[in-house]
C-alpha cells in the first residue's frame, strides 16, 4: 500500500512544536521590518501532532534497510557494522554544543581530537600531514587534486600540466573530481589481470600530465602488482600519484599508500573507520599528504604548540578553504573512537578478515556465476550475469531477487568495464553463517534463473513496493509534492 506523505497527514491548526512565551516586549514598529522584506505567502509546512510525526518517521524507517537490518554487500561502500559506542561518544554534549568560532582555549578537547586523528591517519597511510576539512570522499579527491595543481603551479608548471590519468575501472568520482579541478581526463585501459595496462600508460604519459589517480585494490577488488612501476612511470614524467582511499579496508595495517609511492590520498572515514553512512551522508573525506604537498593544505591546520592546540590559518601557500570551518567534526569523533578501540592489531585484522570473507564468497560462487578475473581478490570482487543472460536474466533481476531474500544487493553495473557486473563487498564484520546464507541465496537465484526466470524478472515481490519505473521518473520528473487541485 502507498504510504501517505507527511503533507497528506496535515490538518490545519494541529501542531507539535512548543516555544516559550515571548518574554521581551514586542516592538510593533512597522520600520522594524519594511514591507519589501516581508514574506507574502506563508510556507505550507505540514501541521501535525508530535505522536503522528513520530509514527510517520518510525514507519518510514521500517521501510528502510540498513546494516543493522541485515547483510549489505554494496561493493566499494564498505557497509560494515557501525559500533554503538561510537554513536554514544559522538553524542556527548562536549562534542556537540560547541561553536566553531569559540576561543581556542575553550575547545582544546576538540582540537586535540582532530590533531591526534590527523596523526593516526598519517601513520595508517604512510603520509606526513593531514587535513580533515573535506566532507566526503569525492570532496577529498577534489581537494587532493587542488593540492597537486597548486604544487605544479608553485614550480611554474601549472599551465603545462593539463591532464589527469584515470583508469577505465575507476570510481565515477575520479574523473568528475579531475574535471572540477579544471583537468582534462585521460583514460587508460586495464590489462587482462585487471590492473593498469603499463603499455597504455606509457603511451599517454608525458610532461603534460599532472597526476594519475588510482584505487588499489581497484574496483575489481584486485591489487595492482605493478604499483611501484606505475609510480615510477608517473613520477619520472614529473606527475604525482593520487590514491583513492575508498578501498582502504582491504589493506589497512598491511600496506600503506605512502609506501607504495602515492603522494596524497583521501580516506572515506565512513567506510574504513566504520562511521555510519547516514542514508547517504554525512561522511568525512580526510586527506593525508607527503611533505611536498603539505604547504598547500587547506586552512586552518590544527597545530600543537607545547600543550596548546591551535588553528593555524597562517599558511601562505595554502589553497584556501574547501568548505566552511574544519570539516564534519562529529564524523571524525566516531572515526577516531574506532581507530582507538581497535589499535594496530585490530586494524590489521580488519583488512585480513575483509579479504578472507571476500575470497570465501568468491570461491563458493564461481561455480554459479561468471568470474571475469580469476585471482585472489582483496576486500571485494566482481562477478557478472553473463551465464544467466541466456535465460533472459540480468544483473538487475538478480539484485532485486536478493532484496526478496532479505539481503541488500551488491553494487551493480559497476565497474563499467565488466558487462552485467555485480560488485560484492562483505566486510570483516560478517560471520561465516551470514556469508553462507548469502551464498545459498545467490545459488538459489542462479538455479531460478534456469528454471523460472520470470520470477526473477519481476522481482522484488516481498518489498513494500515492487520494481519501480525509473524511465517515467526521469522523463517526467515529479520532484516535490503538490497539493491536489480543488
Amino acid at each position: 500500500m502507498s504510504m501517505p506523505l507527511i503533507f497528506e497527514k496535515s490538518k490545519p491548526g494541529r501542531k507539535a512544536y512548543s516555544l516559550p512565551e515571548l518574554d521581551v516586549p514586542k516592538n510593533e514598529s512597522p520600520d522594524l521590518l519594511p514591507d519589501w522584506a516581508i514574506r507574502k505567502q506563508n510556507a505550507s509546512l505540514p501541521e501535525i501532532s508530535e505522536v503522528d510525526l513520530v509514527r510517520h518517521y518510525t514507519e518510514l524507517s521500517r521501510r528502510n534497510f540498513g546494516v543493522d537490518q541485515g547483510f549489505y554487500p554494496l561493493g566499494s561502500c564498505t557497509m560494515k557494522y557501525n559500533p554503538k559506542v561510537n554513536e554514544d561518544v559522538a553524542a556527548l554534549s562536549g562534542f556537540n554544543n560547541i561553536h566553531p568560532y569559540q576561543p581556542e582555549e575553550l575547545v582544546q578537547g576538540a582540537l586535540q581530537l582532530m590533531y591526534e586523528f590527523g596523526r593516526d591517519l598519517c601513520e595508517i597511510s604512510g603520509m606526513h600531514e593531514a587535513s580533515l576539512q573535506p566532507a566526503a570522499g569525492a570532496h577529498g579527491e577534489l581537494t587532493g587534486l587542488m593540492l597537486i595543481r597548486a604544487y605544479h603551479e608553485s614550480r611554474g608548471e601549472g599551465k603545462k600540466r593539463t591532464k589527469v590519468i584515470v583508469p577505465d575501472s575507476a570510481h565515477g568520482t575520479n574523473p568528475a573530481s579531475a574535471a572540477f579541478c579544471g583537468y582534462r581526463v585521460v583514460e587508460v585501459k586495464s590489462d587482462e589481470q585487471g590492473g593498469v595496462n603499463l603499455d597504455s600508460l606509457r603511451e599517454v604519459i608525458s610532461d603534460d600530465v599532472a597526476a594519475l589517480m588510482l584505487t588499489n585494490p581497484n574496483t575489481l577488488g584486485l591489487f595492482d602488482e605493478n604499483v611501484t612501476e606505475i609510480a615510477e612511470i608517473v613520477h619520472n614524467a614529473g606527475g604525482l600519484l593520487y590514491y583513492d582511499g575508498a578501498n582502504m579496508n582491504a589493506i589497512v595495517g598491511v600496506v600503506r599508500p605512502g609506501d607504495m609511492g602515492f603522494d596524497v590520498l583521501h580516506y572515506n572515514v565512513h567506510k574504513t573507520f566504520s562511521t555510519p553512512h547516514g542514508g547517504g551522508g554525512p561522511g568525512c573525506g580526510a586527506i593525508a599528504v607527503k611533505k611536498i604537498l603539505a604547504p598547500f593544505l587547506p586552512v586552518p591546520v590544527v597545530d600543537k604548540q607545547g600543550d596548546l592546540y591551535t588553528l593555524n590559518y597562517d599558511r601562505p601557500q595554502s589553497i584556501g578553504m574547501v568548505k566552511g570551518f574544519y570539516g564534519n567534526f562529529n564524523v571524525m569523533v566516531k572515526g577516531f573512537a574506532y581507530i582507538r578501540s581497535l589499535g594496530a592489531e585490530g586494524l590489521r585484522r580488519v583488512a585480513e578478515t575483509a579479504v578472507l570473507n571476500a575470497n570465501y564468497i568468491m570461491r563458493r560462487l564461481e561455480k554459479y556465476y561468471n568470474l571475469p578475473y580469476d585471482r585472489h581478490c582483496k576486500h571485494e570482487f566482481v562477478i557478472d550475469a553473463s551465464r544467466q543472460l541466456q535465460y533472459g536474466v540480468h544483473t538487475n533481476d538478480i539484485a532485486k531477487a536478493l532484496l526478496d531474500l532479505g539481503f541488500h544487493a551488491p553494487t551493480v553495473y559497476f565497474p563499467l568495464i565488466v558487462r552485467e557486473a555485480m560488485m560484492i563487498e562483505p566486510t570483516e564484520t560478517e560471520s561465516k553463517e551470514t556469508l553462507d546464507a548469502f551464498i545459498e541465496a545467490m545459488i538459489e537465484i542462479a538455479q531460478l534463473a534456469e528454471t523460472s526466470p520470470e520470477k526473477l524478472q519481476t522481482a522484488p515481490h516481498n518489498t513494500v513496493v515492487g520494481r519501480l519505473d525509473d524511465v517515467t521518473a526521469a522523463r517526467r520528473p515529479i520532484l516535490r509534492w503538490t497539493p491536489p487541485e480543488e
Binding site: S10, L22, P175, S177, V355
Partner: protein, 446 residues
C-alpha cells in the same frame, strides 16, 4: 575491541574452501618491498569502557553552551533542537543505510528526501530542490559553477557581505575552473546595489548575495536580482531558512538559484559540522543542478514509490561531464531538517522567526542604551546585528567569559575596517534575563 566475529575454526574452514593455507597467502600479490614490515604505530586498543572514559575526558576539555549563554552566530546558530529530531535520526534503519540505490528497500529514506525537497521548495518558494549539499560554503560554490554552466559565462560577482568562509571556498574552487570572482563592496552593512549595476556585464554568469548577510542585514534582494537580470546574469540568493518564516523568500524576488546553510533546522552546532547545505532552483535549470534528487514514480502494480532520478547528471553515469563530483551528501542532516520543519509546521516556523526578530531587536535596543555602544549599521535585520563597542571587542569577549557568556564575534577577524564592532546573534533560545545579563556584564566591562 574487536568487531570481527570469526572463530579460529571459521577461519580454517574458510581458508580450506578458498584453497590457501594462510591469510598471508591472500596478500601474496602485494609486492613484498612495499608491505608494512611492522605494526602500525598507534596507541594500544581500548575496551569499550576505556574508550568511553577517554572520549568523555576529551569532550570535557571543551566548554559547551550548556555552561555558557551564547550570543555567537556568524553562520552557526544556537537554535533549539527538539527531542523528536534526535530520536528519529537515531533509528538505525536510517543511519546505518547508504545512498538509496536499491529503491525498493529504501523507501523510507527516499520518501523522506522527497518530503525534504518539498519543504525546501516551500520555504524558498522555488520549484526544485536537490537532496542536500555539504554546507553553505560549498552550496554557494556549486551555485556559481551551475550558473556558469547555464550561461556559459565565467564571471561571478559576489558581495563582500557574504560569509567570509563561503567567499574563501568559492575562490578556492574558482581558481581551478578559471572563474573570475569579483567582490562587490558594501556600504553601511548592505551590498552596494549601484556597484553591482556598474560591475555586471554581458560576461557575468551570476550575482550572489546573502540575506540576511554576514552582518545580519536584510539585503534588498529584489533590486540586486533586477540588476543581475538586466544583463541576463542569474541571481543566486543565499538565505537562512529560519528567516524564511517571515522574511521574503528567494522565489518572491526573482532568484534563479537559492542556497544556504540549514544548520539551524535541528542540527547541533557541533564545532562546525556536519551541517546541511541546500539548493533549490527554477524548473528550467533542473538538469544542471548538482547532487542527488529523489523523484516520485510508481511500481509495476501502480503503487506510488520514490527513487533517485535525473541520474544522467551525476558522476557515476556522466563521469568527467557530470554536473558535480558530489557522491555522499548530508542525507541524515537533511532528515533532521525534515523532522524539524514538520515539528514546527506552518505556524511554528513563523513563530520561531518572530521570536528571533523580537529578541534580537530587544537586545540591540538594550545594548544601544549602554554608553559608547551603538548599532553599527542601519538596514533592517533578522536575528543578528553588528554593534560598535567603546572598548576592543576581543577584550570584551574575554571579559564576558568570566560571566559565563559567549560574546559575539569580533568583526576585525574578517573585516579590518570593522575592528571596533562585534557581531551579536540572538536566537529564540535566549531569554530576556540572559540578554539583560549580557548588557549588565558589558556595562561592567567599560
Amino acid at each position: 575491541m574487536n568487531y570481527v566475529p570469526h572463530t579460529s575454526e571459521d577461519r580454517s574452514e574458510m581458508l580450506k574452501t578458498i584453497g590457501v593455507s594462510s591469510i598471508d597467502e591472500l596478500f601474496s600479490d602485494v609486492p613484498s618491498q612495499v608491505k608494512l614490515d611492522r605494526k602500525l604505530n598507534l596507541p594500544p586498543a581500548m575496551s569499550e569502557f576505556q574508550l568511553m572514559k577517554y572520549m568523555s575526558d576529551l569532550a570535557g576539555k571543551n566548554t559547551t553552551t550548556d555552561r555558557m549563554v551564547s550570543f555567537l552566530g556568524a553562520g552557526v546558530y544556537d537554535h533549539y533542537v527538539p527531542s523528536v529530531v534526535k530520536h528519529i535520526i537515531s533509528r538505525s534503519e536510517f543511519y546505518t543505510s547508504y545512498t538509496p540505490y536499491q529503491a525498493e528497500v529504501s523507501q523510507g529514506m527516499l520518501q523522506s528526501i522527497f518530503e525534504y525537497q518539498t519543504l525546501m521548495c516551500e520555504l524558498t518558494a522555488m520549484d526544485i530542490s536537490n537532496a542536500s549539499l555539504y554546507d553553505g560554503a560549498t552550496a554557494i560554490t556549486e551555485a556559481a559553477m551551475m550558473a556558469s554552466r547555464l550561461t556559459r559565462k565565467q564571471e561571478v560577482i559576489i558581495s563582500q557581505a557574504v560569509h567570509p568562509d563561503y567567499r574563501r571556498t568559492l575562490r578556492t574552487y574558482a581558481h581551478n575552473l578559471e572563474l573570475n570572482v569579483t567582490e562587490v563592496p558594501f556600504k553601511d552593512g548592505s551590498t552596494d546595489i549601484k556597484a553591482i549595476r556598474d560591475l555586471v556585464s554581458d560576461s557575468t554568469a551570476c550575482v550572489i548575495l546573502q540575506s540576511p548577510n554576514f552582518f545580519g542585514c536584510i539585503e534588498n534582494m529584489a533590486l540586486a536580482a533586477e540588476a543581475a537580470h538586466e544583463k541576463k546574469a542569474l541571481f543566486v540568493a543565499c538565505v537562512d531558512p529560519i528567516s524564511l518564516g517571515i522574511i521574503a523568500p528567494p522565489g518572491e524576488y526573482g532568484a534563479d538559484i537559492a542556497v544556504g546553510e540549514a544548520q539551524g533546522l535541528g542540527i547541533p552546532m557541533g564545532f562546525g559540522g556536519p551541517h546541511l547545505g541546500f539548493m533549490t532552483c527554477r524548473k528550467e535549470h533542473m538538469r544542471q543542478m548538482p547532487g542527488r534528487v529523489a523523484g516520485e514514480t510508481h511500481d509495476n502494480q501502480g503503487r506510488r514509490g520514490y527513487l533517485l532520478t535525473l541520474q544522467a547528471r551525476e558522476q557515476h553515469i556522466r563521469r568527467d561531464r557530470a554536473t558535480s563530483n558530489i557522491c555522499s551528501n548530508q542525507a541524515l542532516c537533511a532528515l533532521a531538517a525534515t523532522v524539524y520543519l514538520s515539528w514546527l509546521g506552518k505556524q511554528g516556523i513563523k513563530e520561531v522567526a518572530e521570536q528571533c526578530v523580537a529578541k534580537a531587536h530587544y537586545a540591540c535596543e538594550k545594548l544601544s542604551e549602554i554608553p559608547g555602544f551603538e548599532r553599527k549599521h542601519s538596514a533592517p535585520f533578522f536575528k543578528e546585528f553588528a554593534v560598535k563597542t567603546p572598548v576592543n571587542p576581543e577584550k570584551l569577549c574575554k571579559g564576558l567569559l568570566e560571566a559565563s557568556i559567549l560574546g559575539g564575534l569580533p568583526l576585525g577577524r574578517f573585516y579590518s575596517g570593522l575592528s571596533d564592532s562585534m557581531l551579536v546573534a540572538v536566537t529564540e533560545k535566549r531569554t530576556k534575563g540572559e540578554i539583560d545579563a549580557l548588557c549588565r556584564a558589558l556595562e561592567g566591562l567599560v
